[in-house]
Symmetry: C2
């Protein structure tokens, strides 16, 4: 059997996503650079000083560390974003800047491999002594991801060397007898080591990842014990000492783990790392433990936009079916993490469901995290909000220019910049088109695939596969769940095709054409009545996009509108609004006006047009009050 | 003009309420006595030691104070309950016990009039020095209410003397220059002084009440300043130091006051006291300030059962229209306080609305606070709950035998025992039948009224008024809002009647008979769509009773059921269940079963009978999962 197929270069062609990628490459990356250098000192953006911290740690400048203990990761995720940008197109100026950053990071790294500017500058005696909150491995993990990406994209060897030096140092420290039951309060190192292994193929990195995956939850009360042992009284986040037992996702071994109370990003980063280890170590038990929690999330704990982590209290998962629209958290990072996890699971044992959720996050839960101008960001993503809700203790109803805890901005930009990674899943002689995003991709063995797709707006997908070496292939296409019926036309000599579990599977050994007309009619989605907040309401979906009603398009408040039983609907594309967007008008929406708190009698309504926009596009105009779930007849 | 009419003796005849009153007189009062004496030491009931605290303060026993700083009030509200019981019927044994309690309280009271067993035993140096949390005036206020009631019922002069001695002491202390801007963290003294004035007609008590009403909110940060001044570090409730700014209902003068964040019982006790002062001082501005907040509550912050105070976080009011069913608090004491406030407002300027809310609280929000056996109590009253919800951080789904903070049990018993006080509102020559509860009442001027009423179950009310002195009277009857149409038959020579604002007003000067057939058909009540938790749901009301569905009567979980558009309904009385109760069957309820979290398609349903019971009767059987608001077509 010949070599397994590999992606050589994939280029996104979808106008929708090309715009976003360009936004990151042309705007966001420079904007973030200025923020990290404190060159954008408007009143509204939080200070960063992230690069200055490295200069201080490298003894190039004097001063104190500024910001969060994990401030370093903003620089790392920025660097990772740059890596993906440079993979696409040359940009000497940007590359020079990034090379300098790598050099600076190299100078800040200690000779043994350790790097955490906070601990180096402020608390050198406490290195690895307050792991509950120190984020040291979280920081180094993010560097390792960035270093690997930057090396792969630019062949900058130092970027990889720094990462390997870190990993070897961590290996030696955390596998020594004294520390072999220690781990970081915030998972991340696990998935980073998986990536480092995938790049270098050095077993020790994978073994270290497996080690961290396997010990979590087995050293009961480790953090408490360590804090006591080291007389730690002064935590970076004092209130987290009293966090619920499961906040750190380490109260029990993974096998017994529950979501309730777990910090969403911690849990998901860990699961993503565990899924990678499971695949690479062929550990079916570990895989099933991850899948069990994946199923819990997507069947009981996920907002319809894909957002997860329902409460601001610990940025955590809560009860099954507890999906409050007004107070939901749904951190942007958690949606990015869902994508990372879905992708790992896709590579283990492909199922259409993984791609479905990945798509949902891409177009909704994660994408909402960045403004249309690329320069403002949501930390939490409410399902429903009113202007000035923040004042009332609810989530923000506007994206911010920067946060003091700035994990989300660079997380969403590194995701969008690396979108090409998420289009195909390739294994042996099987190529799966997971995301129906227009692209042009070169594979090994001279295989070339061109996908024309008008998603998210249109419903047509045209695939042309050139296979000059006439290699026997399986080409699979994920057929989205939101498409009730598909017209599929496969054109290719001697090809065989079938559909099972929402996957079109074509086996062939020549060139091939596939044309698919999806059914992207509007869906009125209802929630399981266990979700008490959504009873009597519908959400509206067209193609992969969840829609919402925003105050900017409509008269009155969202609670005035009722979606009628027999909806008359008009859809239309507007080039001049929200960077090009398909709007939906409910032509016969009912408009109610109440005066009392309770009523024995039905309230009279009149007819009004209700205009909807995609969820990702909300909060880019004034006023911003919005709801995803709408009262329905 | 002859003297104003007065109620001489009113006896409740309604079988529904007679059962409850007997339960209090025969069972609850003895049960609570045992609890307060620690003679009922089951595992499930919290310890009380409330009477022992008095013996220690009186130097009759040695030891430490046990329980809350306001533990004394359990004894006071018990004594007040006894007062109302003895007003009805002789009970020598009970009277002896209560007389002894009065004597003990007298012994515990200091010579200057001060009484707080906690401060006397544990912190004599801190008397009145930590008013934010000390509850000293709250405690003495409750004694004053009890002392007045016990004196009026039994003519025990010592009971009143103790109260007056307290009041005089408080007057001298808090009107002295040094303390004239001080007040208690927990209002209560205001309404107590109003009652003491009404009993004694001594102006100084009313003036003191007015003083406390007028200064609250005008000495900005008083508690903070006092704590600092007195170096108070050790609070009875340390977490309350950081309570939100409005928790103590003193952040701004009443005129500017908002509900959000205010501890519900504190706010309502204060408003009740203020309403009393407004009436007795004929202060229209004060009255309008109280009414403004009353309107905010009933039109924007009240559950359909009358429960108020939406969050356990500070037992407080929250945002307008924030009425969460699963996590609502709705403390029993807050519903009792709503009744106290409604009653004060009724006596100021009668409106049917006040009686309507009073009725709602009586039959629903407050009554839910006590079990059918009189021996277990709800602190919070959820609108929706599942078995084991407590474990999940939600409200309790079972009544408890006693609480460590035992304010509610004696509050609900003193309310029920004094029900006769709430039937009529009398002013000059007008008698208003506010509550359509069967009763037999003697008034001054030989007026005798007999009301036959089958409420809450039936719809007929027959009123017979004997007026042998042929006094010119107005007799008014509140016609409930839930009765869409009333058949009214007034039989009396030369009587004139009209109906305005839900009040039947008959003027006459002889005997009179009135027969009213109310319309007590079932109502399907909807909530204002600003209450996002109730969208797409209905609550079911029959007469004054809000109904709910409880797991004990039905197959499956409440979220399986949908109330259909054209309901087929059967109502039937069951003598053998829940101490006699009218049940409602929805014969054609729809039963849905979901497997997914979200669905693009409608879920198939089948038909099932859904049985409902009155809300007050829930949680007296197993299993207890329950909802008031039900999904509707």
């Amino acid at each position: 059997m010949a070599d397994t197929i590999k992606v050589k270069k994939s280029v996104v062609k979808s106008p929708f996503w090309v715009r976003y990628r360009s936004l990151i490459a042309d705007e966001a990356i420079n904007y973030q650079w200025k923020i990290m250098n404190n060159e954008n000192n408007t009143d509204e953006a939080e200070r960063s000083y992230a690069l200055r911290n490295f200069r201080i740690a490298a003894n190039l400048e004097k001063g104190h560390h500024y910001g969060m203990v994990f401030q370093d990761t903003d620089v790392y995720k920025w660097l990772e974003t740059v890596a993906y940008i440079l993979k696409y197109e040359k940009n000497e100026d940007l590359k020079k800047r990034a090379d300098k950053v790598v050099k600076l990071i190299g100078k800040a790294q200690e000779s043994d491999g350790y790097l955490s500017t906070y601990y180096q500058i402020e608390k050198p005696d406490l290195k690895f002594k307050q792991l509950q909150q120190s984020h040291e491995l979280y920081c180094m993990g993010h560097y390792i991801e960035a270093g690997v990406a930057y090396y792969k994209s630019t062949k900058n060897k130092q970027a990889l060397d720094i990462a390997e030096k870190m990993a070897v140092f961590i290996y030696n420290y955390f596998l020594s007898i004294n520390h072999s039951y220690q781990y970081d309060g915030h998972p991340e190192i696990e998935q980073a080591l998986v990536k480092l292994y995938s790049c270098t193929k050095k077993d020790k990195y994978l073994n270290l990842a497996r080690h961290f995956v396997s010990i979590r939850g087995k050293n009961t009360n480790f953090f408490e014990k360590q804090n006591k042992e080291n007389n730690i009284e002064d935590d970076p986040f004092p209130e987290m000492r009293r966090a619920n037992k499961n906040y750190f996702f380490d109260s029990v071994p993974l096998k017994y783990q529950k979501l309730n109370g777990a910090h969403a990003v911690r849990a998901l980063y860990f699961l993503s790392g565990a899924a990678g280890v499971a695949r690479l170590k062929n550990d079916k038990i570990l895989e099933s433990e991850v899948l069990k929690l994946w199923n819990e999330i997507i069947h009981k704990q996920m907002f319809i936009t894909g957002n997860v982590g329902q409460t601001s209290n610990g940025e955590a998962f809560t009860q099954d079916y507890d999906l409050p629209n007004l107070t939901n958290y749904g951190e942007t990072c958690a949606s990015v993490a869902m994508i990372l996890l879905a992708r790992e699971l896709e590579e283990n044992n492909y199922r259409a469901e993984f791609g479905e959720i990945l798509e949902k996050e891409l177009y909704n839960g994660a994408l909402s995290g960045i403004g249309l101008n690329g320069k403002n960001y949501f930390y939490s993503n409410p399902m429903e909000t009113k202007d000035n809700h923040l004042k009332k203790g609810f989530s923000r109803e506007r994206r911010q220019k920067w946060f003091s805890c700035a994990c989300c901005p660079t997380n969403i930009t590194r995701l969008i910049a690396s979108l090409d990674k998420y289009i195909y899943v390739v294994k042996d002689r099987t190529i799966i088109l997971d995301q129906l995003i227009a692209n042009e991709t070169e594979f090994s063995h001279d295989i070339h695939i061109n996908v024309l797709s008008s998603l998210p707006w249109g419903n047509r997908v045209k695939i042309r596969i050139l296979n000059p070496q006439q290699i026997k292939l399986h080409f699979k296409v994920r057929l989205p769940e939101w498409s009730d019926s598909n017209e599929i036309n496969v054109i290719g000599n001697d090809s065989l095709s079938n559909i099972e579990n929402n996957i079109l599977d074509v086996s062939f050994a020549q060139d091939l054409k596939i044309e698919i007309n999806l059914d992207n009619q509007i869906h009125f989605v209802k929630a399981n009545p266990k979700v008490r907040n959504d009873v009597g309401k519908v959400a509206i979906q067209k193609g992969p996009l969840i829609y919402c009603q925003e105050r900017a398009d409509n008269i009155g408040e969202y609670e005035n509108y009722i979606i009628p039983k027999n909806c008359e609907v008009k859809t239309y594309f507007r080039n001049d609004e929200l960077n090009g967007v398909e709007k939906i008008d409910i032509l016969n929406a009912k408009y109610q006006q109440w005066t009392s708190l309770y009523s024995y009698n039905s309230i009279k309504t009149n007819k009004k047009v209700l205009t909807l926009i995609p969820y990702y596009a909300w909060a880019n105009r004034m006023p911003r009050s919005m709801t995803v779930w709408m009262e329905s007849e």
